[in-house]
Amino acid sequence: MSIIGDVIESTKAIIKGMGVTFSYIPKGKWTVEYPDEPVTVQPRYRGQHLLHVDEYGREKCVACFLCAAACPSECIYIIAKDDPRSPMERIGIEERYAEVYNIDYGRCIFCGYCVEACPKDAITHGYNFELSVYNRADLLKTKDDLLITKQVQSRNYRVASSEEDVDSEYKEV
């Protein structure tokens, strides 16, 4: 193989490669202008957890510890408490509720096992994803951060509707 042959072959390859590059110039841009524009997240996106309440505002969590048992990174810490009051006065929907419910986001891997394990649909993944903090200790989120009635939702995301085909949009690229 001569040197000339090499030059021709590599020139061809460069032209082919640049052809792909140049072909994208006229197409639309995919860059997300975060945080100026909200990010589109998929409906099943696994963001910061949410602890839910029922229609009377009672916490759905019964402190069964199944999420903590399912958690592979052991980031959930619960202290259960007995609530002897009548059903409508209670904090939770049953006599047992979580007095303390902590998730350590320094350890959480957002696997979603806790959500699957929950027998009461009390915990789900929300869409908040801006979890960075300046202090490692702040990664520990308590019930006040997680309850759906108390968690402040970020304005920087938009949930795709279930019909919206977010996935294939990206695959096209």
Partner: protein
Amino acid sequence: MSTELIKVTINGKEFQVAKGARLIDVCREQGFNIPSFCYYADLALQASCRMCLVRIEKMPKLQTSCTITCTDGMVVTTESEEIEKAQRAMVEFLLANHPLDCPICDRGGECELQEMAFDWGNLEERFTERKNAQPEKYLSPIVANDPQRCILCKRCTRVCDEWMGEDAIEAGGRGANTVIGTFGGWLNCSECGNCIEVCPTGTLLDATYRHQARPWELQQTVTTCTYCSDGCQESVGSRAGEVMRVVARDRYVNGHNGEFLCIKGRFAHTFINDETRLRTPMIRYKKGGKLIPATWDEAVKFATRGLDKAAEAHGANSIAVVGSPRLTNESLYALKKFATELVGTENYTATDAFSLSPFFQNLGGQIATHRDIRHAKTIVLIGGEPEELQPFAGKQIRQAVRNGGAKLVIINSTPIRLKERATQFLHINPETEDAAVLAIFNQAHNELAARKMGVQETELIELRRTITNTEGDVVIMFGGEVSAEAQSLLAQMPYLFNKEGRRALLHPLPLYNNSVGATDMGLMYGKLGATEMLDAAGDSVHAMYVAGSFLPQHLTGREDSLGKLDFLVVQELFETETTRFADVVFPAASFAEADGTFTNSGGLVQRVRQTIPPVNQSKQDWVITAQLSKELGVDFGFQMSASAVFGEIAERIPAYAGLRYPLLKDETNPVQVKHATIEQRDLSQESEAIRARVEKMSDTATKINATPPVGHELFKIGTLTDKLPQMHLLASGNPKPPTLAVSPLYQITVDAGMKREAIGGD
């Protein structure tokens, strides 16, 4: 059960089994898993859950293996489509009306029904109808009840009847409306909680642990109970340094007590993490001043200086070392070593209610373990009240009579509840137990004894005949009522009654978990007893080192004695009457935070294991003693290891020779210490002393006719039980709250009017 072997074919394999063996046991031993709910060894057969169905050739229907006794040539199938269908059907039936609220059920995770549903449950629930709802309620301050979860295996009712002899819990209603309930809707019993323990579902629950934690979150540690001398093995569940509950479930612990525990052992563990536990060492710099928190170094220095000063001023014998029968053998040994080898004092003792030293000094036979009691043929109970003070011994006596056909002879001045089971009850005049011992020892004294005891002479003759006609074991049990001399006579009784085919065994009934250990460690052989020591305070005793506290009965009438001391060092869990006068107080670790051993009334030496790290700044008692001795210039060489202390015990104390922690590892096979027996000796001096005392007794005493109420000892509020709020409700007569739906704790406030007189001694 005979030793004759017969042939049984199970699933095509032949097995040699003992004749008369129960099929379900045989199958399980051979590794064939047979599910069951209602079958429980040593309880009456029920055969109601219909889970243990097997196919036996030549029998028309499927048979319950729990009711079948193996016969020669029996051909059994335990696994087949037909059997599996039946078993799956039973689980489906049981789950039909079950609320399936496992997430909030405290039993979730260790529930037999849950496990059974995993193995034999169907994937789909065919039951789509409305379930029979029944409200949750409380049966007593410590027993919570959710009737809807019940599968009516009736283990609870059988345990209540057969173990406790109380029959406090029974089934009511009929058919699908059957519920387990109580007479009058409120549980008035000894609140042992064994019904909770044996319940295979979440129907009966521990109300003190209600909705606190889930079993898989708990760290289970096998240890020995710290209350009475029975030495029950229990599993302490702790989480993050906090003791959450105590159970004796088979799945966690398999001690000589099975699943038995009493109210104190099972529920009264809240003292461990109580807020009022001593937090730091404290020093009273000035007599009459306040106790001021200090560092360990400072406190240890202050204590040793004080003891040194007393020794210099008044000599070594002016220092008294006092242990407590609640401490581990290791701590007691360290105290004894501190007293004899370091201080060199003759004044050492343990604060026990009565001393067993005369008994062990004259021991002429074997000590009966609780298993021996269960299989005894005759039981003679002199004084004592095991159903209140040693509940497990009481249960063993009841089962020996009920299931083993044993004869029970009770000699007591009070008509205790156990007398209902007795073949013979000698209702004697108060404080004449010695006379009974004398008469049993030598029938020549029958007439005198009978007269003083206020019974017929024939009753004593019958008692002797019962003993001498026994084939098998005779167990002689005695309580604290008998005098020191009578203890000597009792200790020598095996020589009188041992015979070919008959063993006379002895079983003392001391009050504390390590009373026997305190005697073994030599602490009970000091010059002065606890009360004598208090009397000598300020006189010949000038300084005292107390581990634990004096009992209220020691201090009554001697309230100021401790104040007369020049210097008092106390190590305790809580502030008590004893710490009130202390110059230095060390925070000690409770049994849950300590490693060591306890020796129970049956002579079994059993492990105490550290469940949680010491609370606050507390340290184990022997560590404190070792620290003091080090400060005084002697290193005991314990190397901060309890097993090193026990190694030294095994070297120095003959009864414990050869023992090591690894040998005590298995709670299923507890080790009995080899107490030295002495040869038959002349006891005429002792019996003469007793005779003289008996002769002085009055002929016309009034008998106590009232049977003491259930729980009069069990529910007593002491330093430890005081920390369980429910105990105060029970001690106040267990009032029924306005509504059963909510724990009585939230409904009833215990006020002074309700409180029984608070007496120590738990």
